[in-house]
Symmetry: C2
Subunit: 432 residues, 2 copies
């Protein structure tokens, strides 16, 4: 009813802040989401859009035309506008650029010229710049004439007449300095500016290591282009960490939790298809030993244990190595030590659990040979899991393939094949 | 040789900043790590320790005695000191507190009284406070007398005579205001202070939503206790996201990548043991159908496909729901829609891949019944995976159990049991 709609309209535009309205949209299924979106007032559209996840944002944007989009994004920072445009279909993006006023177009095109996952793609152009040869008092007077300093400004950037970056003047230092002192004497120069081409993960690491709130971005010639602020870096950190988790299940970190059923089905189908190939390879290995299986049916009962133990142990190693790569812990110099440790841990745990499984198998089937065979196969498979878990992500990374995405499928293929082959192969030797 | 040692000593104490020295220690295997640690000079020990991951830190700290520790941590902020003490064995912590000077002890004990994963555990006590009834000019004069304002200070806190929190004065607003204006007139009061008992994940969400750099922390009576800064929040976000990834493989997010082999083996053994129970349950299910397996050996060859497809599909749903829970997207009101979508996606993908697998099975074994049986079993198991993947994390969370830790084991148990039971059970009906 219309009372309910009125209430929702009030809530979306007045009751909630834009970031909260965006959250509400994100946790609403698609049909209701579209209804809610239609209730967002024109002047709030841009602010709400900006806070949506990539997947949801692209969805809503794809249903707007260029002039609607331009109107919605009018009041946004140029970097947020550029981010949003990167989610648009090529044709829509061109159209929006075409109808934009010239000054804005130039600014946005400049930002669009840097890939989304670099410092240039992260930066905004809201910098407050000063010259080195003025006094603190002059700076204070200058700032007092500004009514509005951009959000997250914790320092002013000192630039030359030609806009070359020279240094940083933290507000805290500005406030604690003698008014007669020159900027040149109190500015900080030890922290280098960030090149626009630096990958965003390295930007994030820099912010974390140095506890930065904002940092200047420069081009190859040292000219100040803009600044990166901690709020955008936090998004990179969050997405970066989400990436490994989601990729290991074949999902995208931008995935809309409430994506429509057909899109969900299509995306999942691909992953299931890839994994089906793995499963068929495993079945083919089992098929090699049909004769042995017919003879000793206990083998069919026990064989999943061997594959599963190898898979679990291998996944632990794989996850640890992928996380270590993301944190920058693992490199050529120390992978050897890690490989050895994983191998020893695999051998020890393999032996321990092989004995347990063997004991159970002997009691269950009253057959010592089955116990010996499964014990050996488990040790072999845990060693295979340890080796694959360490070497696969290293090899994939060198080959430029995302270890989080391809690692788990390949690992399972290896531990399934080795597990079934070792178990049924040894059984064929012992029983044949 | 001693030239090499000298070079390393120089690098650890002069060449690298403490955060870099800490990274170097983190990516060094245990024995070499201890050698490097011994080269860190007394005055740098505290600063390096503070930047180490929990696991590595606890390791090094456990080898120091109370007076060494006190000396090492002398120059640290009280919150970093409290964090470190939380990693110590109870006895060592008491000993350090005993020999600490009275003022420091009081401060640290206060911080220790809040659990590590709350706002109180995150905060530090480095606040700059002012009264509401003074002018901007007075504030500026007062700050100029301070030579050192704490790092990450982006705002001053306005408090009453009794230290009750009243509002926040951002430095940017201070700098752009008329010197004659009273603090009361320009301070911001719309952002509420954070209660000391707020869980750290909610603190992180607040910082992300509001793009905060620092925020005041108060006790139940509204008294200002300290402040939380973005650098500590970034650690929470990183750990929070790492937590799901690592837990799903049965690992701890604080896990030292280069933990010694025995510790690694012991921790992994537990996880393998738990998963072994799952594997045995699956085997027991297969064991129920020994007769059928003896009759039709093709079933043994194909059965891992059914279990694996259900497991993969279920893991995708599980990961999506766990991520959605962490982002605060999933709640009672929308879980019903999600459950239905997963069920439909499962049915569609189940049907698609069931047909593919059935076709392959019929061609491979020349037996239509095997094809029908496996197709039905795959559809059933993908539905089971979708249901378990949605409902398990919800149920676990309500029960106060971490879904990321327990979810994947339980899910695999369900998809294995349902997969084998459906496939072999149907086969028994059709062939029996």
């Amino acid at each position: 009813d219309s009372g309910e709609l009125k209430r929702m309209r009030f809530m979306l535009n007045k009751g909630l802040r834009p970031v909260e309205a965006a959250k509400l949209l994100e946790k609403t299924p698609p049909r209701e989401r579209q209804i809610l979106w239609n209730l967002v007032s024109k002047e709030n559209e841009g602010k709400v859009l900006q806070h949506l996840g990539d997947d949801v944002q692209a969805d809503i944007v794809s249903r707007m035309d260029a002039s609607e989009l331009l109107a919605a994004t009018e009041g946004l920072d140029s970097d947020d506008m550029a981010d949003m445009m990167q989610q648009m279909p090529e044709r829509l993006m061109r159209e929006v650029l075409r109808i934009m006023d010239k000054q804005n177009r130039k600014r946005v095109e400049k930002l669009l010229s840097y890939p989304e996952d670099t410092a240039g793609g992260l930066m905004n152009t809201d910098t407050v710049t000063i010259r080195p040869d003025i006094t603190v008092e002059t700076v204070l007077r200058y700032l007092r004439r500004h009514t509005d300093v951009p959000q997250d400004t914790d320092s002013l950037f000192v630039v030359s007449r030609k806009d070359s970056f020279i240094g940083v003047l933290p507000l805290t230092r500005l406030l604690t300095s003698d008014p007669q002192v020159m900027v040149r004497e109190i500015m900080r120069t030890e922290q280098a500016a960030i090149p626009a081409t630096l990958p965003d993960q390295e930007v994030a690491r820099l912010f974390e290591d140095e506890d930065l709130v904002s940092a200047p971005v420069v081009d190859e010639s040292g000219k100040l282009l803009g600044r990166i602020t901690i709020d955008d870096v936090v998004d990179v950190i969050r997405e970066d960490a989400d990436h490994s988790l989601m990729s290991m299940a074949g999902l995208d970190e931008d995935e809309d939790t409430f994506a429509p059923v057909l899109r969900t089905t299509r995306r999942r189908a691909v992953w299931l298809g890839i994994n089906l190939i793995t499963a068929f390879i495993a079945s083919a290995v089992i098929g090699l030993f049909e004769g042995t299986l017919e003879q000793v049916v206990a083998l069919a009962v026990l064989m999943p244990i061997v594959a599963s133990m190898g898979g679990i142990a291998g996944s632990q190693t794989l996850t640890l190595v992928i996380r270590g790569q993301a944190l920058g812990h693992i490199e050529r110099g120390n992978i050897g030590w890690l490989f050895n440790r994983e191998l020893i841990a695999g051998a020890l745990n393999g032996t321990l659990w092989a004995l347990v499984v063997a004991a159970v198998a002997v009691v269950w089937f009253g057959d010592t040979t089955v116990g010996i065979v499964i014990a050996l196969a488990i040790v072999i498979n845990l060693l295979a899991g340890a080796m694959a878990g360490t070497l696969l992500p290293m090899a994939l990374k060198s080959a430029g393939i995302d270890p989080a995405l391809a690692g788990s499928v390949l690992l399972t293929t290896i531990t399934d094949v080795v597990g079934f082959f070792a178990f049924l192969g040894l059984a064929t030797l012992f029983f044949g």
